[in-house]
């Protein structure tokens, strides 16, 4: 169980978070059909660092993007996503 530093809540146990998908697999609303399906159905699936989308589902419910190494679990960057919020 990792410890993830939520940009809103600070360091929290991974049990509070849910993984969504990688940043490179976000199908934007304006994507053309073929591009959309390629995005949805293929993954770099890096054996190293990748940018992932997680949600602090059982905490502040906000979404975040974190760069994590899939072997060491080192989290090198983490940022908030979503509507602008007050501090």
């Amino acid at each position: 169980m990792m410890q993830i530093t939520c940009p809103h809540c600070g360091p929290r146990a991974q049990a509070e978070f849910v993984y969504e998908r990688t940043v490179d697999s976000v199908v934007t609303l304006d994507a053309a059909p073929k591009e959309a399906m390629e995005t949805l159905f293929t993954r770099t699936n890096a054996r190293g660092e990748d940018a992932e989308i997680w949600r602090h589902t059982f905490g502040c419910r906000a979404w975040l993007v974190m760069t994590r190494h899939r072997v060491t679990n080192d989290i090198t960057a983490i940022r908030a996503i979503g509507p602008e919020a007050l501090p």
Partner: protein, 915 residues
């Protein structure tokens, strides 16, 4: 050390132990040498160690649901009434038929089972039956566990594992510098090694140190083993609150700590190694430090005539301790070439290695050694061995660390750490030793005692090509027993390296994995063992329903009333009665669990048109509409209704089972994909309790409740019922004129009561999910998990016409893939039985033995006329109306001849919704 005496039993006989004894100490005190039988050859085994590394002395402790098989006698402290039983023997420990297997040992070499027992699978199962009976060790309990287990989290600045001198000092230093400290020690006392070797440090120091740690707010946990090192410095500690088999004082037998530490200090010391020689597994061969522990800590002297075999200085301390306790040291076999000055007046032989021992089942009699090429023999009842020290690096390695080779100690010590962990004390500075190579008969020289792996097995694996250390492990089962190779791995590695012609580090290591010592499954399960970790989700109106004793139906984690039987009715009878009431009069049911989202803000419609595949924006205030949602891959994943409550406020409903999935989906779309939208999407599933009132009389019930004309079909109004504010949605799932009443769940009981009174007054009744199924199937309404099974497109479900022409909804791209509009897809159809009763889930075939063209998604009976009907999915189904098929369920022996019809059996035109 003298405490009060307590009694325990071993194999039915009563013995005395001194308070503070481990079971092993108590058995030795009582002169018991034979404690168990080995896994494969059933060889007699005694007590070899005084710690968690014990491979041999495994017994079953406790009775009934508290029975703990395979308990190390060295790792259970005797309590009054402890019941211990030996294992893996029949009929008795001293006369064990299974020991005959030992005679056939030459056949049962490593991996023998891969090379024989050929023939059919059934034939293997015949042999396997006997193999399985012979394998295993203790017997598992058959009762449920009467005790509870707790999971507790803790956070600290410094976690120190091991309360030896190194760990105690580190914990003290950290506590005194103002840090939050946790100190965990697997033993039941602090500084056990200091009790074993009192000359090292004043034992009063232990108490002072502990008191100072506690005074600074530090937490000291005894009988607590750090068993797993996980990601980001999370360490799990298993704490025993009572001994194996013992009844806990407060109902909790053990506690599992999840400790997140900023820094972890491992002061886990080292484990002494045995030596390899013939019959080195016999009772009476013990580790040197263990012998010393029994003498110094427990006041038990495990032998009177003792030979000591060593390759280092530490064993001389054992000689002194034994001598002081009155034992006779007949020889010290020191592998080193010449005296080291530790001699202490004992009969020391240099260049001396034990070659074999002899003894009876329960004791040792004779030790033979090679002394500089000459064989010498001693009569002795105890052989204490020390082959050096293996640092306890398990946790360091679990944390992703690396090791380096310490040549002087012939041991691996911690090198790099991947996490925030350091190892200190004996685990980084093991005593130097003199490396020795075994010279004994490899077939009788054990490396893995519990799994009966000998040097010869290592040699055989090598010869057969199982040469990587991992293949060696798996082919011979070395290191796979309950001790996980704590004693065996180094000996085997040495042998393997020799074969490979490399130094030990070149041979590689197997992976260290949690747990450090075995952990009780009930402890890992925690409170979840009772409810599978899944609390029941209880309806807001639970009490109201429970009072009526309905038949409950699980749905996800919810339980909902399935039917309300009266007077001994069966489920089927009840459901039919309830459904008829709805068709002919009025019924009411609880629909609280439906997914519900309140969406407000100027961009509400924009958000909804992304989530829903139907058009929403033209919905007038006060009106509602059926809708469905697609996954990104274009398949339908949920359906429901959408209502415009106010200019900028909507309510979206969906299925119960899909509620959590939908909540995540909406959040993703709103927060991630569309952060710019001016909208608030709030999950109000649990805020609103919902009551559906349905039937031809529903309107008059509602009129009575509201005191005004109820809204027309697919309209919504706020109202007051039973004194509470409610929202009324005129929607129907049953096919009758119907209303859903939503009320604040905290006040819903009053609303329910008012509704029930009126429904009853108008001759209606409650109905449950089973009746609801009948009604909706007959009407041809869909259900998520049935017709909507995650593999159907809107077209397959005949919903294509409702798709938002403007596009822009999620799933449009996926839906455009060719296979989603291929001919002959499975499509929604209705079925009516020509003969027989249609089974839900049955396969649809054209002839017996034919391949299924589809299946029955839901089956029911026509509510009023009777007759078996169903909904289904059928290849090219839209074009098959009128065809006759067979609905077959071979698993239930149920077959019906059916006709394909349109998927609505009741009021296809929707006349009944009109006022």
């Amino acid at each position: 050390m003298t405490g009060p005496m307590i009694t325990f039993t071993f194999d039915g006989k009563t013995y005395q132990a001194q308070e503070g004894d481990t079971l092993a100490a108590a058995l030795l005190r009582s002169g018991i040498g034979l404690v168990g039988r080995s896994f494969k050859y059933h060889r007699p085994r005694g007590i070899m160690t005084a710690g968690v590394e014990e491979p041999n002395a495994l017994v079953t402790v406790g009775e009934g649901g508290r029975t703990e098989p395979n308990t190390r006698a060295t790792d259970v402290f005797v309590y009054e009434g402890l019941v211990a039983t030996s294992q893996n023997r029949w009929p008795s420990l001293s006369f064990d038929i299974g020991a005959m297997l030992g005679l056939a040992a030459p056949i049962f070499s490593a991996g023998f089972y891969y090379k024989t027992f050929f023939g059919s699978a059934k034939r293997w199962m015949f042999y396997e039956y006997f193999i399985r009976k012979a394998a295993g060790l203790g017997n598992a309990p058959v009762e449920a566990d009467p005790d509870r287990f707790s999971h507790r989290s803790a956070f600290c600045d410094v976690l120190v594992v091991g309360a030896g001198p190194a760990g105690l000092q580190a914990a003290l230093d950290a506590a005194e510098s103002g840090k939050r400290v946790i100190l965990a020690e697997q033993d039941n006392i602090l500084g056990p090694s200091l009790i074993r070797d009192p000359q090292d440090l004043d034992s009063a120091w232990i108490e002072t140190a502990a008191a100072r740690i506690r005074a600074k707010g530090g937490r000291i946990l005894l009988r607590t083993t750090a068993s797993g090192y996980w990601e980001h410095d999370l360490v799990t500690l298993s704490q025993r609150l009572c001994e194996p088999g013992q009844k806990p004082a407060k109902g909790i037998a053990q506690r599992l700590w999840h400790v997140r530490a900023s820094e972890v200090i491992l002061a886990t010391g080292s484990i002494e190694r045995p030596l390899a020689f013939a019959h080195n597994d016999r009772p009476g061969v013990m580790l040197s430090q263990a012998v010393r522990t029994y003498v110094q800590r427990y006041g038990v002297v495990p032998g009177k005539r003792v030979v000591i075999a060593t390759n280092n200085d530490d064993a001389y301390r054992t000689a002194h301790a034994l001598k002081a306790a009155g034992a006779d040291i007949v020889a010290i076999l020191d592998a080193r070439p010449s005296p080291t000055g530790a001699n202490g007046g004992f009969p020391v032989f240099n260049q001396a290695l034990p070659v074999s021992v002899k003894g009876a089942r329960h004791c040792l009699k004779q030790v033979s050694a090679d002394v500089g090429g000459v064989t010498k023999v001693w009569q002795a009842d105890l052989l204490a061995v020390s082959g050096g020290f293996t640092p306890t690096v398990h946790l360091h390695m679990q944390a992703g660390g690396t090791l380096e080779w310490d040549d002087a100690a012939q041991a691996f010590v911690p090198a790099m750490s991947r996490q925030n962990v350091t190892t200190i004390g004996g685990a980084v500075r093991p005593d130097p030793i003199f490396p020795v190579k075994p010279i004994s008969n490899p077939k009788k020289s054990f490396v893995d005692f519990q799994n009966d792996v000998t040097l010869a097995d290592v040699d055989l694996a090598w010869a057969e090509g199982y040469r990587s250390v991992e293949h060696l492990k798996r082919y011979t089962t070395l290191g796979m027993a309950t001790d996980q190779g704590k004693l065996s791995n180094m000996a085997a590695l040495g042998r393997l390296a020799e074969k490979q012609g490399v130094a030990i580090p070149g041979a590689g290591l197997t992976t260290f994995r949690p747990p450090y010592t075995p952990v009780t499954m009930g402890l890992l399960a925690g409170a979840g063992a009772k409810d599978a970790g899944a609390h029941v989700r209880r309806l807001a109106l639970y009490d109201v329903h429970a009072a009526k004793r309905p038949i409950w139906q699980p749905l996800g984690y919810w339980f909902r009333p399935r039917a309300y039987p009266v007077g001994g009715e069966t489920l089927a009878q009840t459901a039919l009665r309830e459904a008829k009431a709805v068709r002919t009069g009025v019924g009411m049911t609880d629909v609280s669990t439906l997914a519900k989202f309140e969406i407000s803000g100027p961009d509400s419609a924009a958000l909804l048109e992304i989530i829903c595949a139907t058009s929403v924006s033209k919905l007038a205030v006060g009106r509602g509409r059926y809708t469905f949602m697609l996954r990104e891959d274009g398949f339908v994943f949920d359906d429901g209704t959408v209502w415009r409550l106010a200019e900028n406020r909507y309510l979206l409903t969906g299925s119960t089972g899909g509620a959590d999935r939908m909540a995540a989906h909406i959040s993703y779309v709103r927060q991630y994909l569309c952060p710019h939208l001016r909208v608030s999407a709030v999950n109000v599933q649990e805020h609103y309790a919902g009551i559906a009132v349905a039937g031809p009389k529903a309107k008059s019930v509602m009129a009575a409740l509201m005191g005004e004309e109820p809204p027309r079909h697919m309209s919504t109004v706020p109202a007051k019922i039973g004194g509470a504010d409610v929202l009324i949605l005129a929607a129907s799932y049953s096919g009758e004129r119907a209303f859903e009443i939503y009320a604040d769940a905290a006040h819903a009981a009053a609303v329910w009561a008012a509704c029930e009174a009126e429904v009853t007054a108008q001759g209606g009744c409650l109905y449950g999910l089973e009746a609801m199924e009948f009604l909706r199937i007959e009407k041809g309404h869909l259900v998520v998990g049935g017709e909507i099974d995650g593999r159907m497109t809107p077209h397959d479900l005949a919903l294509g016409k409702m798709l938002n022409k403007a596009g822009g909804y999620i799933g449009a791209s996926g839906l455009s893939r060719p296979a989603l509009s291929a001919p002959n897809r499975r499509q929604l159809i209705g079925l009516e039985a020509i003969s027989g009763t249609i089974a839900e889930g049955a396969m649809l075939i054209t002839e017996h033995g034919g391949a299924p063209l589809g299946h029955v998604t839901a089956a029911a009976f026509r509510v009023i006329e009777g007759g078996s009907i169903a909904l289904g999915q059928l290849e090219g189904g839209f074009d098959r109306t009128g065809e006759e098929l067979i609905a077959t369920s071979p698993t239930r022996g149920q077959t019906a001849r059916v006709r394909v019809v349109a998927p609505h059996f009741y009021d296809a035109a929707g006349e009944r919704y009109r006022d």
